[in-house]
């Protein structure tokens, strides 16, 4: 339909375009000067447990209506503030409004002293201790454990190796189990072109730029399209806030501890050991069948980092009799941040957890 040529309509369109051009100029200057960066991770919280660099945060909530509390386990390669991006775009704040007592296990930024951290460090020490601390802080016997991305893998390993851990429900979000489904991001190390030792820097960890570039290679033209979308929406303050927060997060990776990376390459990527049950940690085989609590496997349809093929087989590997799947129209990050998260993904996840919780 061609636009109306009535003088009033033309005038209003011109006025709108002039207004937007002015706003575009203002926002463009602010963006270039870096003066309008949104503050991330603003939801009030308290540190309730700390071990080395790992911290367990409890978000303040005077209106807890559901139990058990939700303990979120974040990934090892990115910053956890993606779960609490900024007011109005925060998965944590959404869960708080739904009436949950929310904890977040943040692994911190590893340095040379953490290069020896293995998968056992997280699955055997970090998660069980954090769950115990959450139970103590909330004065409860159980928690709902929610693992996002590689945090989901760590949660799976922890639950499998510690079946007595007080986890009532387990939620896996964008969690890879079949690493052959992540061909694009793993091919360099899977095929033996590069060994872990080629990638680990002298400080003993995988540098964050390597992680960032690996993700960037999955969609090499995405950055150009993002700039086009930025130009199109530069006038829109709300869009700019989200763009800057997300942009900050996607460039803000953390080093992957070298020892855990070596195990990930050797066992999870090259041997795909979660799928054939041959994964061994601390000299003991990991039996995912030992996980018998209710499980929700959340997958994103447009996830190019952890595609369906990598996440889908999870439930078949577990011993749970109450296992559900949630396939959502979102991308990897869209599961937890952005408009789709607030409207589609988070309500679905919160609904399932609420069904598996009880009123306080």
């Amino acid at each position: 339909m061609s636009p109306s040529l009535a003088p009033a309509d033309v005038r209003s369109r011109v006025e709108r375009d002039v207004q937007r051009a002015l706003q575009r100029g203002r926002n463009g200057l602010r963006y270039a000067a870096g003066t309008s960066r949104p503050k991330v991770g603003q939801t009030p919280k308290d540190v309730v447990w700390r071990r080395h660099k790992a911290e367990l945060w409890r978000y303040r909530n005077d209106d807890v209506r559901l139990a058990p509390p939700v303990v979120i386990v974040h990934s090892l390669v990115s910053r956890s503030y993606v779960l609490d991006l900024y007011p109005g775009n925060s998965a944590v704040a959404f869960l708080l409004r739904e009436g949950f007592d929310v904890f977040l296990l943040d692994w911190g930024v590893p340095d040379e002293a953490d290069s020896g951290n293995t998968l056992e460090t997280y699955a055997d020490d970090g998660i069980p201790a954090a769950v115990a601390a959450a139970c103590e802080a909330a004065d409860t016997d159980e928690v709902t454990l929610l693992g996002y991305c590689f945090g989901g893998v760590l949660s799976l390993l922890s639950c499998a190796r510690h079946p007595d851990m007080p986890v009532r429900n387990l939620v896996l979000m964008a969690t890879p189990v079949d690493f052959t489904g992540m061909e694009a991001i793993t091919s360099l190390v899977r095929d033996g072109r590069l060994d872990p030792e080629d990638i680990v820097e002298p400080a003993g960890n995988v540098p964050p730029e390597v992680v960032e570039n690996a993700f960037r290679l999955l969609k090499p033209t995405a950055e150009v399209s993002q700039y086009a979308t930025l130009w199109e929406n530069l006038w829109n303050d709300e869009y700019m806030e989200g763009y800057q927060a997300m942009g900050q997060w996607t460039r803000d990776h953390v080093p992957f501890p070298g020892a855990a990376f070596r195990q990930t390459v050797e066992q999870l990527i090259r041997r795909n050991a979660l799928m054939d049950g041959s994964l061994e940690l601390g000299g003991r085989r990991v039996d995912l069948g030992a996980i018998r609590c209710p499980v929700l496997n959340v997958m994103a349809e447009r996830d190019h980092i952890v595609p369906f093929a990598a996440a889908e087989p999870a439930l078949a590997l577990l011993g749970s009799g109450d296992a559900d799947e949630l396939r959502l129209a979102a991308g990897h990050v869209g599961l937890v941040a952005g408009r789709a998260a607030a409207k589609v993904t988070l309500p679905g996840i919160a609904g399932w957890i609420a069904d598996h919780s009880e009123p306080v």
Partner: protein, 90 residues
């Protein structure tokens, strides 16, 4: 599509044509091989530069990146031992 400006429609049309082949290229064996060679070369160059500068800096009795790294490794080892002691504390 209706609300998008013309330049954006044109951009999207080009993007649709280009992104598929570029992504396929980035996932090809040839690209992976090139990346591997580039990676190894840059590492080798880094080592070579370090080796040569180390020689010059040591002549002037100045510490090199390798010396700092060794010190840093020792500090980290101490940190780890401290942690182990902390963890063992009842």
């Amino acid at each position: 599509m209706a609300g998008k400006p013309l330049w954006r429609q044109a951009f999207d049309a080009v993007d649709r044509r280009v992104s598929g082949p570029v992504e396929a290229g980035a996932r090809s064996d040839a690209f992976a091989d090139a990346l591997t060679v580039g990676w190894r070369l840059s590492r080798r160059m880094q080592r070579e530069v370090e080796r040569r500068t180390r020689h010059v800096l040591h002549l002037a009795n100045l510490p090199t990146a390798t010396d700092v790294r060794r010190l840093s490794e020792q500090v980290s080892a101490l940190q780890r031992e401290l942690r182990e002691l902390q963890d063992r504390r009842p």
